[in-house]
Amino acid sequence: MKRLIVVFLLVHGIIGIGLAQGKYITKTGHIWFYGATPMENIDAHNHQAAGIIDSKTGDIIISVLMKSFEFPKALMQEHFNENYVESTKFPKGSFKGTITNMKDINLAKDGKYKATVEGDLTVHGEVKKIKTDGTIEVKDGKLMVTSKFNVAPEDFKIIIPGLVREKIAKEMEVNVDMTFDPMK
């Protein structure tokens, strides 16, 4: 019995290490979006984006709580949450995809690398395939990931009434700036 426990612990330990190795995680990434309107620009920030990267496969998962986006105007934030993304019904937005050129990124060497990523973006309960470029900077064992891409609210069945629709840019610019730490 004792031996069994030892074997179990050993195996568990090895698997445990195997699972954590090569993975990078963050809970405090910065994601913001930007849209120009004739009256003023809309920019909403979220500093609690969570993400994980598996450096072996290039798999990447990022998620944000929609209510955590901070707008300059309280009214904008209210409209965003209540009328557009319906954040009480759909509290989470997520991206699940792959860094397709992971093999080109040398994790052992500090430097800036170009990365391409593709996968499913889920907002407002709707899934859309996206493909975008970004950079991954390797520094002191950390991965600093930045990317920028455009999305149209209509792709996620977000209905903006006609009068307001004309005033908001057809596409929103989404920015990602996240520093991933190696998982222990």
Binding site: I25, T26, K27, T28, H30, H47, Q48, A50, I52, I61, S63, V64, L65, M66, K67, S68, E70, K73, A74, L75, Q77, S87, T88, P91, K92, S94
Partner: protein, 146 residues
């Protein structure tokens, strides 16, 4: 007759001014004051996390958009440039993600910068939900409660 017209005009003008004032106020209405609001719930951080892990749906019904005070250990501090601070309570795998209020952060930089991993803090914020992929509860517009 002339007087009647004058009165009508004054009423219309007053209506327009009031209307614009309301629109202006609505447009510029301030953000909810979380720091000054009364807390709906006061609890231990680990307890809130546990409740959310067990039953996300009923917790959302109970806590979403509510003001909560939690007490817990700091697991991680992340300075977002010099513009903000996010504190993770309990641990990285299962915890609470507290985004400090921007104005509060700017006014209390010295105190906030002295916080360290492992120390216990009492944080007040508004609940933004639960991330079931990363097992973390979101608290926004956070301030430290003394």
């Amino acid at each position: 007759m002339k007087l009647a017209w004058k009165i009508v005009l004054i009423i219309i003008a007053a209506g327009i001014i009031i209307g614009f004032s309301i629109v202006y106020y609505m447009y510029h209405k301030p953000h909810r004051d979380i720091a000054g609001a009364k807390a709906d719930f006061t609890m231990v951080a680990a307890d809130l996390v546990k409740q959310y892990v067990n039953d996300q749906k009923s917790c959302n019904a109970k806590y979403l958009d509510k003001v909560i005070i939690v007490t817990g250990k700091i697991a991680d501090l992340s300075h977002n440039g010099n513009i903000g601070l996010t504190i993770v309570l309990e641990n990285q795998m299962e915890g609470i993600n507290c985004a400090m209020d921007t104005k509060y952060f700017n006014e209390n930089k010295t105190m906030l910068n002295s916080l360290a991993n492992g120390s216990e803090v009492k944080i007040k914020g508004i609940c933004s939900g639960f991330d079931d992929t990363f097992q973390c509860v979101g608290l926004d517009k956070c301030t430290i409660v003394k």
